[in-house]
Amino acid sequence: MSSINVGYFPGCSGLGTSMEYERSTRAVCRELGIGLREIPDWNCCGSTPAHSTDSALSAALASRVFAQGENAGIGDVITPCPSCLKNLRVALEHMEDPLFSARVEALTERPLKMQHSIRSVLQVMVEDVGTERIRGRVRRSLKGLKVVPYYGCLMTRPEKVMRFDDPENPVALDRLLEALGAEVLPFPLKTDCCGGSFSIPSRKVTPRLAGRILDMAGEVGADLVVVACPLCQMNLDLRQGQIRAGGIDRVLPVPYFTQLMARAFALPEADAAFNKLVEDIEPAFACMQRRAADIEAEERKAAAAEAEKARLAAERAAKAAEKAKDAGPDGAGAKSAGAKKTKGKADAGGGDV
């Protein structure tokens, strides 16, 4: 597969609250041959306040981002943040309306000339790179790690804008984590709301909603909750104190999927940047290693049992062949075939032990 070259929009949180997402995304992309060309002098996408105040001003912010990209010859852009993605995508689609586009251009004075597209890093990972190629890169499997993926509200919705995966029951991140070796548990609240930016007007809402997600993750037996959105990550990770104060007693690390990829690819610790998480992830990894050892022991036992079964079957076959040989000339062929089979199986069993 040829390497991918795309424009890159880190988003504001990538420079602040989600530095670990930013760092691990860049590292993982480098490892997978995705060339990221950061849009020069990009600006805020408008976040939640802009579009809830004025759609044209909000689109103007997005339009300037794409115009800056055009200066560097960038048309196709990816971003790790689903919220940025939604704002940029909505602006692009709304600007297909010539009247609206004229309003935006009057503000920016920079009409867009190129074809633009904007997608999420996750979408590029599963659609362009593919889980098979990711599986091939894994050097430290996450075998034994029990995870639940948490997509949040925006990764797949609104359906008509995002056009990615099943809006209510997405599985893209599930498949990616499986490729890393992790055990992905069924998680019914994978698209439930974490509280979003409600923490600003009302402090009570977010811990309640985020707490429900953590509680369910704990209940299904997850070691950690994997996220793809800076705001979700913050609500789930940073607020665990508030959540515990509300009576839900769960302690779960909340890493970005790119951090787990960095670990599975055995990239330097600084790239995985687990030290930026509020809840410590190391106990989860320790648990993973214990479980992996158990699983491997279990697998060895099963393989040995299989080999023993094969050996017995071969013995029986050999005996039968012996009898057949006594009975007539046709028995000879059967015997040699049976003998060969026995040998192969025995070798395989021995190697395992």
Binding site: D166, E168, N169, L189
Partner: protein, 652 residues
């Protein structure tokens, strides 16, 4: 020619926005018009009498009535002019109601347009010719497609009246959806107890031939004389020998087959008799689950069958039947609710459909009438019913109301309480729709006597938590979010036209709407007829309806079919194509395009000529538009007649 023109007021329907007297005055100046007047209600008895009187008084030889659409009253007026001795085809209508007075309020424009439409009609009438229908014999046999309650009713009524009936059912048993129901609303009668005897009647009726596990393959011909091909699907059991003893179904080792009749509630065997009251009570093999077919060895059923009826070599078989009329009663199917990922999309075993729940409630069902959670077999306490799953939802292309879900949900809530006295039902609804005799009282009873809690609002999400199902939704009356911890969730899944209904419609040459429901001839006045003569509709295939309405429509369809087939001879529509032999050059283009193979080549003194087979021609006029020299003309819609209408409008 002497033309009389009658401009109908239709009360104020037309006269409100059209100056009818002015139109009549303008019409009196048109060529050949000798008499023109306006009239209050042309279709009413005084109106018809006035037309007849005018014909006699003025010696009219043709009549134009400007009133409503000809699709409504053309037959009425044709009969009226015929009573006055004028050939029924010497009559034209101008549609000044649906196409003029009802679509705009500009009196000047409407009056002018009405006058022009009358001019067109009169111009066409001048070229009308007297047409006389020919008569042809009728096959006195009725085909009923579908053996649900509507089809059963139609078949029994027709057969009781002495008509031969052929019934085709695609499942191995008749009974349809009603046979799967435990009880019926609002009387909570046992469904199979009231349907069962009717099913037996079908089996035993001397006038009814039943082809179960069969499908309609092909229909050709025309009203009174349809040729029908029926494909009997291979059951791998010779039904002449099968006694329905059921030994094979006990011994069959493939015990994990999907149970179609029981909607997959519990498994069944590969050779089955769908349910104890099945008609015909015969076994059939579901090939996809049978070991004999999948693994090439088994043969248990053949070994145990006391009559040697099992035959793995059986092939599909085609039978050909001649019938005079057809009743389509193909019913409905449930919407594929698995598109709703927020309800689990099928991932949660304790989320079941309403029809699966019926099978759980039914004493003859796989659970013996004990309501159990499919996941662990325990008895549920909290049961949540979610209404409008796949109804009234434009986002999945099902914006219509399925009509019966409110009522069966109420019934199921009552039955839940009867089965499990300690249970509590919750019903999430959008609106309660319960028009019908005793229906609204029923929905009150379920709340007031049975304590079901009705929550007005949609369910946004169902998710499992600790062995229970969390049902999250809105209570729009309280203005709050609610979350109910449920043991079992029953989705009131909406209904849609049955699978392949559009393909069947195309075979029958009837129309269907955007959802696949068959189109009736007129939404008010022809609810069981179609626009294809001789084809009638019964039950939910025409639009969703509950049992009493389906039964009523079944009887109505039978009455219509009987009316048609009680005659020995039928009149053919004389509005068909005919060939001017002199002008035909034998190029065969008409023969090539005719959809009905109604044109044949004949030899006339060594020259090839086209000839229309009058009973086969349906009068579409495709041949007329195809013939370069216009040697084949569609009577009553000839080139000259259409040109006259165009020229009445476009005279530079």
């Amino acid at each position: 020619m002497k033309i009389g023109v009658f401009i109908c007021h239709c009360g104020s329907n037309i006269a409100g926005t059209v100056d009818c007297a002015a139109v009549a005055e303008r019409a009196s100046t048109y060529p050949d018009v000798v008499y023109a007047t306006d009239i209050m209600y042309a279709c009413a008895e005084p109106g018809q009498d006035a037309i007849i009187a005018a014909i006699k008084k003025h010696g009219l030889t043709g009549v134009v009535v400007a009133s409503c659409t000809p699709r409504m009253h053309e037959p009425t007026f044709r009969k009226a002019v015929e009573r006055a001795g004028v050939n029924r085809y010497m009559f034209e209508m101008a549609n000044i109601r649906e196409h003029v007075s009802w679509i705009g309020k500009d009196i000047e424009a409407n009056t002018n347009k009405a006058a022009e439409l009358v001019r067109m009609a009169a111009a066409k009438l001048r070229l009308d010719r007297e047409l006389k229908p020919k008569s042809f014999p009728v096959t006195k046999r009725l085909l009923v497609i579908g053996g649900g309650v509507a089809g059963i009713q139609a078949a029994l009524d027709a057969a009781d009246a002495g008509l031969e009936v052929v019934m085709v059912e695609k499942q191995p048993t008749i009974g349809g959806k009603m046979a799967k129901l435990d009880k019926t609303f609002p009387t909570v009668d046992c469904s199979s107890c009231i349907l069962g005897p009717r099913m037996v009647d079908v089996a035993q009726h001397p006038n009814i031939t039943l082809y179960a596990y069969a499908e309609l393959e092909e229909v050709s011909g025309y009203v009174g004389n349809f040729d029908v091909k029926i494909r009997k699907k291979a059951t791998y059991v010779d039904w002449d020998k099968c006694t329905g003893c059921g030994l094979c179904t006990e011994k069959c080792p493939s015990k994990k087959s999907y149970d179609r009749f029981n909607e997959g509630v519990g498994p069944t065997t590969a050779i089955i008799i769908p349910f104890p009251q099945a008609i015909p009570k015969k076994a059939s093999i579901e090939r996809e689950y049978c070991r004999q077919f999948n693994k090439g060895k088994c043969g248990v059923c053949a070994k145990v069958c006391p009559t040697g009826a099992v035959n793995y070599e059986m092939q599909d078989e085609t039978v050909e039947v001649k019938v005079g009329g057809i009743v389509a009663a193909t019913g409905y199917d449930l919407v594929d609710w698995k598109v709703y990922s927020e309800y689990g999309g099928g991932r949660y075993p304790d989320v079941v459909t309403s029809l699966q729940y019926e099978r759980m409630l039914s004493a003859s069902g796989p659970t013996g009438g004990h309501v159990k959670r499919p996941s662990d077999g325990t008895e549920p306490v909290n049961v949540v019913f979610v209404q409008c799953v796949g109804s009234r939802d434009p986002s999945i292309g099902r914006p219509y109301c399925s009509g019966f879900c409110c009522m069966y949900t109420a019934k199921q809530a009552i039955l839940t309480k009867d089965h499990i006295p300690g249970s509590q039902s919750y019903v999430f609804y959008m609106d309660i729709r319960s028009p019908g005799k005793g229906y609204d009282e029923f929905t009150r009873r379920v709340q007031e006597e049975y304590g079901a809690r009705y929550v007005r609002g949609r369910v946004s999400m169902i998710y499992p938590k600790g062995g229970k199902l969390m049902v999250r939704g809105a209570d729009t009356l309280m203005g709050t979010q609610v979350e109910v911890e449920a043991d079992l969730v029953v989705l009131a899944v909406g209904a849609e036209a049955s699978a392949n209904s559009s393909a069947l419609a195309e075979k029958l040459r009837i129309s269907y709407d955007g959802y696949g429901f068959f189109m009736e001839g007129h939404p008010k006045l022809k609810p069981v007829e179609t626009n294809t003569a001789g084809v009638f509709l019964a039950g939910s295939c025409q639009g969703l309806k509950d049992i009493p309405s389906s039964v009523a429509q079944g009887s109505a369809a039978a009455a219509k079919a009987l009316g048609l087939l009680s005659r020995d001879m039928l009149d053919s529509d004389p509005q068909i194509a005919s060939v001017s032999v002199n002008r035909c050059v034998g190029c065969r283009k008409c023969i090539e395009v005719c959809p009905f193979k109604a044109i044949q080549e004949v030899d006339m003194r060594g020259q090839p000529k086209a000839e229309v087979i009058e009973t086969v021609c349906q009068g579409c006029g495709l041949c007329n538009a195809t013939c370069p020299q216009g040697a084949i003309q569609l009577s009553h819609f000839t080139d000259n007649q259409i040109l006259a209408e165009v020229e009445a409008l476009c005279r530079f």
